[in-house]
Every structure is written in structure tokens, then in C-alpha cells.
């Protein structure tokens, strides 16, 4: 996902002509909307006043949170990179037995929401807590974010380069570090950024094992003293951490461009024989799959069996499922509609204006759900009270959080529908609007549907923003699961965990397929 975000298409642009005013205006409005969280952080910091802000930020509690959060990022991100790249290399480039199956199973843990994973581990090892617990659960939940782009890239790399390196006298290890790894840098860097952003934003997984990070502290603060300056200041620090991550990633990326793989068919990568390392390779992949996928699945099933029939509270399940589907469908529709003008401008017109719109949307959507939720609470209380804790606000928060998923897909879709086709339709006597509908819209439909599906599935497993913003009395699968597991009713939570995983499986498969297609185009 991160990789295809940066692929810039130049085909089919109308150089020199101006985009229609209505489209630009809508895109600007959407972008302004997405700037609300950032504006909120700046505004609260300014109104709190310097001295109060310093008092609230410079205190032992914040130091502790900062240590926890930074330690989490510093330990988890490299571990994810090592595990993700190693697994990808084993699956794509060696004669590992069962590589095809392993390839999918290694990506599958992405379908287990981190808070479900945490629930499974807390049930298995009740003493799990603190930094070790946080790192373990995070690595197992998020390494696929590195694994998926790395394996897609490895699959597409021209093995001719490796063969040339070998013919220049390099041994296998030197070939890997000097030829293969540098080419993976961008894909892995994008994946690592996503891991980092998830670490900063995750609430449920850490709260479950009583590991305090900025996000968990903000939510606790919010729940005890609603709309407090302390929570807002913590949010400001969290936003600064996010921006630092974005900066670090773009600095690491530098001016490097995507390795252009020449036209035609790249030489198919030859599988390297593992020989005496084969048992070790198999063991590594098996252990990773068992820990990341096996533990949560076995635990959910174990609780389901232990709970028996009693845990299937049909009415409650149906209500939560219905509510989740409602939010998911509405959220997906609104997000795709909001992304439409921005994607269209970016592909058809390019230029500085469209780039600015696009990048500000990426920055905003890297804001943690808790910050977005706090911003919407503050804005609705002060400026639109009738909307406070109403459905439209929840939907708006979803749209803002998941806009890039729709954007990336629509971009690819518009690239499939070049302007020339629309013009051909006009030359055949079709009105501009008719040509747009009959050609461009029709050709973009599959991409829009894929984007909508991804947003739908992201919404249906969202916990943090939903906890804060959902109208009272509304339960989704995620919030109901959260309520039950917080009451240590592990068996009661199991059916919700199962439904959450089942809902996420198609998203994972879609992401997996998409990255395989996007890389190297």
C-alpha cells in the first residue's frame, strides 16, 4: 500500500488546462476537513498557554509515557523489518517447501486485529505486560506490513542483477546485502513507517495488557476528566511524534526513485537451495506463523468451545453486526466519494496544487485515531453541538482516517482510464458528462469498489475512534468485544473476535493481491 502511494502516473494528463472549478472546490473542502485534527492540536496548544502547556508536558508521567512509546517504536520497528524481510526472502527466493502456502499464511496475521491478538496472548500468558508484552504483540501483529511489500518487491526484482553481481565475484551474502537489500529499501521503508504509525495509534492491544503509551494514556485521561487540557497536551506530543516518523521516513527515502524494472519480462528469480539450512528455514517460518496466527486462532476457538452455546448471545451479536455493517457501508461510500475529486485532480492534472492536496491528506490520515476523535469531540462541542456524539461525526472521522485507502485505489483506477478515451467518446458525439459516466466512471468502478471494500473492512475493525465518538448505546463488533474482554469475559468475547477476524480476512487478501500487482509497475 505504501509503495503504490508514491507511484506517480504521468499518462493522460491535460497539461496547461485548468481543472473544473467545482472539482477543485470540492477537493479543497475535503482537504480542509481533513486538516481539522492538525488544526485542533495547534489551536489547543495555543489556547492552553505556554506555561500551562510546559507544566502539563514536563512531568514524570509524560516522561514515562515517552520512554514507553519510544522504546516500543525503537524495538518493534527493527524487529518487524528483520522478520518481514527474512520471511519474504525465504518464501520468494529459496526452495523452502510449501512456499506458496506459507506466502499467504505469513500475510494472514494482518487479518487479526491487534487488540484481538492481545486478548489471545493475555489469555495464554496472563502475566504478559509492560514493554516486553507490548513489543511481542506488536511485532506479531504488524510484521506483515513489512513482509507484504518486501515479498512483492522480491518477486519482481530482476534476478539478472543478482546473477551479474555473482559473476563479479560476490558471494551469496554480499549479493543479498549489496544488491537485493538496497533495492528493497523503499518498499521496506514504507512498510516500517506504517508499523511505526500503527504503534503510535494503537489503543486496545496495549490497554489490554496494561502497557501505557501516549494513546492509552490519552484515552484514560479523556474517560476520567472529559475534554481536559492534560489529554489535549498529550495529543499534541503524540502528533509531534507522528510527524517525526513521517520526516524520518522521507529523509531515509531521500531522492531515490523506484527501481525501474525494464520493459518486457524480467528473468524469473531462481530459487536458491537452502541445503543444510532447510530445517532452520522451515522452523523459522513455522514458528512465526504459529505465534502470529496460531495463537490467536487457537485461543478464539478454545474460548468458543469453553463458552459453548451460552456465549452466542444472538440478539446482541446481530445488533453489533448490523451496526458494524451500517457504519462500514456508510463510511466506505462517504470516503470513496470524498477521495474521488482528489484522485481525479492528481491523475488528470498533476501539478503542485494536486500534490499539495494529496500530501496533506496523507499527513492527516497518519494522525492516530484518538487525536482525530478528540479533535471531533472538541469541534462538535464548541461549534456544532447538535452533532455531538451523532453518527455523521463518526462517519467523518472514518473518512478522514481511511481516505488514503480509497485514494490509492482510485488513483490506480483513473490511470486505467486515460483522458484519451473520454475524448474519443466525445468525438463520437457523446456529451462530456455522458462520456465521463460511460467511459471513465465505468472503467474506474472496479478500483472504486476495491477501495470501498478496504475502507469498509478498516471501519468494521476500528476501535479507538469508535469508542470515543459513537453515540451512546451504539455497539459495534469491536466495541462490544472490547467491553466484554475488559470485563475479563474472554469466552463471551470470543464470538466477536471470530467475526472480526472473518471480516478482516478479505481485506488482508485484497491488500496482499494489490501489493503484488502495484510494485514494479
Amino acid at each position: 500500500m505504501a509503495t503504490s502511494q508514491r507511484i506517480r502516473e504521468t499518462a493522460g494528463r491535460s497539461l496547461g488546462s485548468r481543472p473544473p472549478f467545482g472539482v477543485s472546490a470540492t477537493a479543497v473542502l475535503v482537504t480542509l476537513g481533513t486538516l481539522i485534527p492538525l488544526g485542533f492540536v495547534v489551536a489547543v496548544t495555543a489556547t492552553t498557554g505556554w506555561e500551562t502547556a510546559v507544566d502539563l508536558i514536563v512531568r514524570p508521567r509524560v516522561g514515562e509515557l515517552l520512554f514507553n512509546t519510544i522504546a516500543l517504536v525503537v524495538l518493534t520497528v527493527p524487529a518487524c523489518i528483520v522478520l518481514g524481510v527474512a520471511a519474504a526472502w525465504l518464501v520468494e527466493r529459496t526452495d523452502l517447501p510449501g512456499a506458496r502456502t506459507a506466502s499467504l499464511l505469513l500475510a494472514a496475521p494482518l487479518a487479526v486485529p491487534a487488540f484481538v491478538n492481545s486478548y489471545a496472548w493475555a489469555g495464554t500468558v496472563p502475566s504478559l505486560s509492560g514493554i516486553p508484552g507490548g513489543v511481542l504483540i506488536s511485532v506479531l501483529s504488524y510484521y506483515p506490513l513489512v513482509y507484504i511489500p518486501a515479498s512483492a518487491m522480491l518477486r519482481r526484482l530482476d534476478s539478472g542483477l543478482e546473477q551479474s553481481a555473482a559473476s563479479l565475484g560476490m558471494g551469496p551474502w554480499r549479493v543479498f546485502f549489496r544488491v537485493v537489500l538496497p533495492q528493497l529499501r523503499l518498499a521496506v521503508g514504507g512498510g516500517a513507517l506504517l508499523v511505526g504509525l500503527h504503534l503510535l495509534a494503537e489503543y486496545g492491544a496495549y490497554s489490554m495488557i496494561r502497557f501505557d503509551t501516549f494513546t492509552t494514556a490519552i484515552l484514560q485521561q479523556f474517560q476520567s476528566t472529559f475534554n481536559s487540557a492534560a489529554a489535549n497536551m498529550l495529543a499534541s506530543v503524540l502528533v509531534v511524534l507522528c510527524l517525526l516518523l513521517l520526516l524520518a521516513e522521507s529523509a531515509a527515502r531521500g531522492n531515490a526513485r523506484y527501481a525501474r524494472i525494464g520493459p518486457g519480462v524480467a528473468a524469473a528469480p531462481a530459487a536458491r537451495p537452502l541445503d543444510r539450512w532447510k530445517p532452520a528455514g522451515v522452523l523459522f517460518v513455522l514458528v512465526l506463523i504459529v505465534l502470529a496466527l496460531g495463537v490467536p486462532l487457537v485461543n478464539v476457538i478454545r474460548w468458543l468451545i469453553a463458552g459453548g452455546r451460552a456465549v452466542w448471545e444472538v440478539d446482541e451479536l446481530a445488533t453489533a453486526l448490523f451496526q458494524t455493517l451500517g457504519y462500514g457501508v456508510t463510511g466506505a461510500a462517504v470516503t470513496v466519494l470524498a477521495a474521488f475529486p482528489i484522485a481525479w485532480l492528481a491523475v488528470r492534472y498533476g501539478g503542485r496544487f494536486a500534490r499539495f492536496l494529496e500530501s496533506s491528506n496523507y499527513i492527516t490520515s497518519s494522525m492516530p485515531g484518538i487525536v482525530v476523535a478528540l479533535a471531533f469531540v472538541t469541534v462538535t462541542i464548541n461549534f456544532a453541538y447538535p452533532l455531538y456524539q451523532e453518527t455523521p461525526v463518526v462517519i467523518a472521522a472514518y473518512a478522514l482516517l481511511f481516505l488514503p485507502r480509497a485514494l490509492v485505489n482510485l488513483r490506480a483506477g483513473f490511470a486505467q482510464a486515460p483522458r484519451e478515451l473520454e475524448e474519443a467518446a466525445q468525438a463520437l458525439g457523446t456529451r462530456p458528462l455522458g462520456a465521463f459516466v460511460r467511459v471513465t466512471l465505468r472503467l474506474t468502478a472496479p478500483a472504486a469498489a476495491a477501495g470501498a471494500a478496504l475502507v469498509f473492512l478498516a471501519v468494521s475493525t476500528e476501535l479507538t475512534a469508535t469508542l470515543v465518538l459513537a453515540p451512546s448505546g451504539v455497539t459495534t463488533l469491536a466495541t462490544r468485544f472490547w467491553a466484554l474482554s475488559s470485563e475479563i469475559d474472554y469466552a463471551g468475547a470470543a464470538p466477536y473476535a471470530l467475526l472480526l477476524i472473518l471480516l478482516s480476512l478479505p481485506m488482508t487478501y485484497l491488500l496482499y493481491r494489490q501489493s503484488q500487482k502495484a510494485v514494479g509497475q
Binding site: 496547461g16 475524448e423 467518446a425 466525445q426 463520437l428 458525439g429 462530456p432
Partner: protein, 370 residues
């Protein structure tokens, strides 16, 4: 559309002083062109000379910054309140890659522009078959997907699709450039034949001079955003307006010469020049095929280099200076020893390096100011 008071409705398409810039880069700088009904015009120029922009302005996809486009006796672009949108111009357009709709079958592509109310299902199908036949494709192709066709077939389908509405003008934007050599000639012939049969006025844009010369009734050479020369292919080729046009349209032999009246003195002797526009020191242009190897020729030269490529051989000849009746030291051109010319010949055996040859010049030369 109202009839223009400025011009009689003789020309089918009239472009008057068209300018167009992209940002600060001017692409068209006051271009003027007339196209008569039923003829084929080729606009030829190097890439980046603004050909495609011009075509897009005629089609209505872009509008000119200034200037007027008149079509079928009415103003369609330029002039206040006169912009006729593309879909109302009834101008057919075939893009470089065909631009077939990938989500529709070949038949649905061809039928795209047909009026769905005027044609019933069966009538539309018959019309599609007829149109496919016009571009030498079997009616069975109607059910295929565009990606199942070769490049040349896709271009022919694109032409059939554009012909479906009976346009009064057909625009072709480098439609053959993406095809490989053999297919290009065959597709070009099919397209030319189809267009000739329908009698539709056609404008072809290309960077390939031989394509332009063979395809069109009228060739317009474009350079730097204006038309350097417009005319019949033979005239434009044999009597180019300037040296750049001469060299763009084909190989040219350029010699220093002195022009007096209508006779140019150069290393090849005295060469007649028709309607010279200048006198004195000039550059004389001849086409290589005007210089022939002939036993009775009065110009002598030695072969210094040859390049054999099958049916022909290019021969580089160092001239021995002019000789013969017209060349006896007139205006000091005896001293032009050592100039070389490159010509083509069919017989490689006659032209080995070191051989001395006798040459003769056929026809007239063209003189450009030095």
C-alpha cells in the same frame, strides 16, 4: 452555425492565425491553413512541433489562445461565444494508440457513436459488420475484446468506430507510428483506401515524411509552431521552401553555388533553377536521385565510400571539379575540386571504392540564399 461573412464557403476547414501556449511555452505561433472538401492533408513535422496540439484544437479538445477555426462554413472556435464543443462538431478522431474502450467488445466499440434510438439491435449489428468490412476486418471480430487484437487491427477498429457517425472530417493522430514496419505500410494502405472510398476530408498528423508524402493530396510541413510550407507532395518534395524543409522531407545534396539568372554554377556544372528568388552566392539543393551515373556524363568523380543495403547502395563520390561545355572556368567554379556528394544507385557492382565514375544531373535544382 452562421456562415462567416469573412470568407466564402469554399474551404471545408479554415484555420486563421492560431496561437496556443502551455504556460510560458508557445506551441502554435500564428498558424494558418486551408483544407478543401474531400482531400487528404498530411501535417508533418518533427516531434514537439505542435502537430498534436493543432489536431486537438480542430477536434475541440483544446481551444486556441487566439485565432479562429472555421469548419463547414461556421466558426467553431475562437471568436466570442463560438466555441462548439467536441461532441457537436461531428469530427472523427483516431488517436495514436487507437483509444479503444477496454471494457467494451469490438462491436460495442464500433457501435458506441451510433444513435441508439435510430438503430435497432439488428440494424446496429449489420452496420457494425459493414463498418468492419470497410476496414477489411471480418464481422466475426465484433465479439472479440480489444486486447485480443493486434496493433494494426486495433487501429482499423478505431477507424471503423470513427467512421460510424459519418463524420465530415477525419483526424488521424500518428495512427501508424506504434506499429512495426511491415504492419505500418499494410495498415496505412487499408486506411487510405477506406478513406478514399468514403470521400471524407482527412487530416493526418505524422512525423514520418514518407508516410506524409505517400498518403496525402496536400502536405503541410510544420516547424516551430507555424507551417513552413503547404502544397502538393511532389511540389513540396522537389521544390521545398527552405533548406530545413528540404532536409526534413528526404535526403538532400547541398552544394555551394553561384546563381546568375536561372543558372547555378557549382561543382556539378551549370544547373538550371526554376523561378529563383535570389541571385549571387547561394546554396543549391538537389535530390540524390537527380544525380545519375551515366557513361556519357560530363562530370567526373571518384567513389570514396559505399554503403550497401540490399536493393540499393549509397555511394559517396568526390567530384573532380566541373567539366564540359557549361563548366569551363565560369565564375571560378573550376576550383570547386574535392566536394563530395552522396547518391543512391541500384547496382552495387558499378560502385566500388576507387572507381572513377561519370555523372549527369537530371532536372532542376532549388536555390536557397546562402
Amino acid at each position: 452555425m452562421t456562415t462567416s461573412p469573412l470568407l466564402p464557403a469554399v474551404n471545408h476547414l479554415e484555420l486563421l492565425d492560431i496561437t496556443k501556449s502551455f504556460g510560458s511555452t508557445p506551441v502554435l505561433r500564428g498558424l494558418t491553413l486551408s483544407v478543401q472538401k474531400g482531400i487528404t492533408t498530411a501535417i508533418v513535422g518533427p516531434s514537439g512541433s505542435g502537430k498534436t496540439t493543432l489536431l486537438r484544437i480542430i477536434a475541440g479538445f483544446d481551444s486556441p489562445d487566439s485565432g479562429v477555426v472555421e469548419f463547414d462554413g461556421g466558426v467553431v472556435a475562437g471568436g466570442p461565444g463560438h466555441a462548439v464543443p467536441a461532441h457537436k462538431r461531428n469530427i472523427g478522431y483516431v488517436a495514436q494508440d487507437g483509444a479503444l474502450f477496454p471494457h467494451l467488445s469490438v462491436g460495442e466499440n464500433v457501435a458506441f457513436g451510433l444513435d441508439r434510438r435510430a438503430f435497432g439491435r439488428r440494424a446496429a449489428r449489420a452496420r457494425v459488420a459493414e463498418l468492419l468490412g470497410m476496414v477489411s476486418l471480418d464481422a466475426g471480430y465484433a465479439d472479440r475484446r480489444p486486447d485480443q487484437l493486434s496493433g494494426g487491427q486495433q487501429q482499423r477498429v478505431a477507424l471503423a468506430r470513427a467512421l460510424a457517425r459519418g463524420p465530415s472530417l477525419m483526424l488521424l493522430d500518428e495512427p501508424f507510428s506504434a506499429l512495426d514496419a511491415g504492419l505500418r505500410v499494410a495498415t496505412r494502405k487499408t486506411v487510405a483506401k477506406t478513406l478514399a472510398e468514403t470521400g471524407v476530408t482527412t487530416i493526418l498528423v505524422t512525423h514520418d515524411q514518407s508516410e506524409a508524402l505517400s498518403f496525402a493530396d496536400q502536405v503541410a510541413v510544420m516547424r516551430g509552431g507555424v507551417l513552413a510550407q503547404v502544397g502538393n507532395p511532389f511540389v513540396v518534395y522537389t521544390r521545398p521552401a527552405d533548406r530545413a524543409t528540404a532536409e526534413f522531407l528526404g535526403d538532400a545534396v547541398i552544394l555551394e553555388a553561384h546563381l546568375q539568372g536561372s543558372l547555378a554554377m557549382c561543382a556539378l556544372g551549370g544547373i538550371p533553377v526554376r523561378r529563383p528568388t535570389c541571385q549571387g552566392s547561394v546554396q543549391l539543393m538537389l535530390r540524390p536521385e537527380q544525380i545519375r551515373i551515366a557513361e556519357d556524363g560530363n562530370i567526373r568523380g571518384t567513389v570514396v565510400e559505399t554503403d550497401f543495403f540490399g536493393p540499393e547502395v549509397t555511394v559517396k563520390i568526390r567530384l573532380h571539379g566541373s567539366a564540359g561545355p557549361a563548366g569551363d572556368g565560369v565564375n571560378g567554379f573550376n576550383g570547386m575540386d574535392g566536394q563530395t556528394v552522396t547518391i543512391r544507385h541500384w547496382n552495387a557492382a558499378m560502385a566500388r571504392v576507387g572507381t572513377e565514375l561519370r555523372l549527369r544531373v537530371v532536372g532542376e535544382g532549388v536555390a536557397f540564399p546562402a
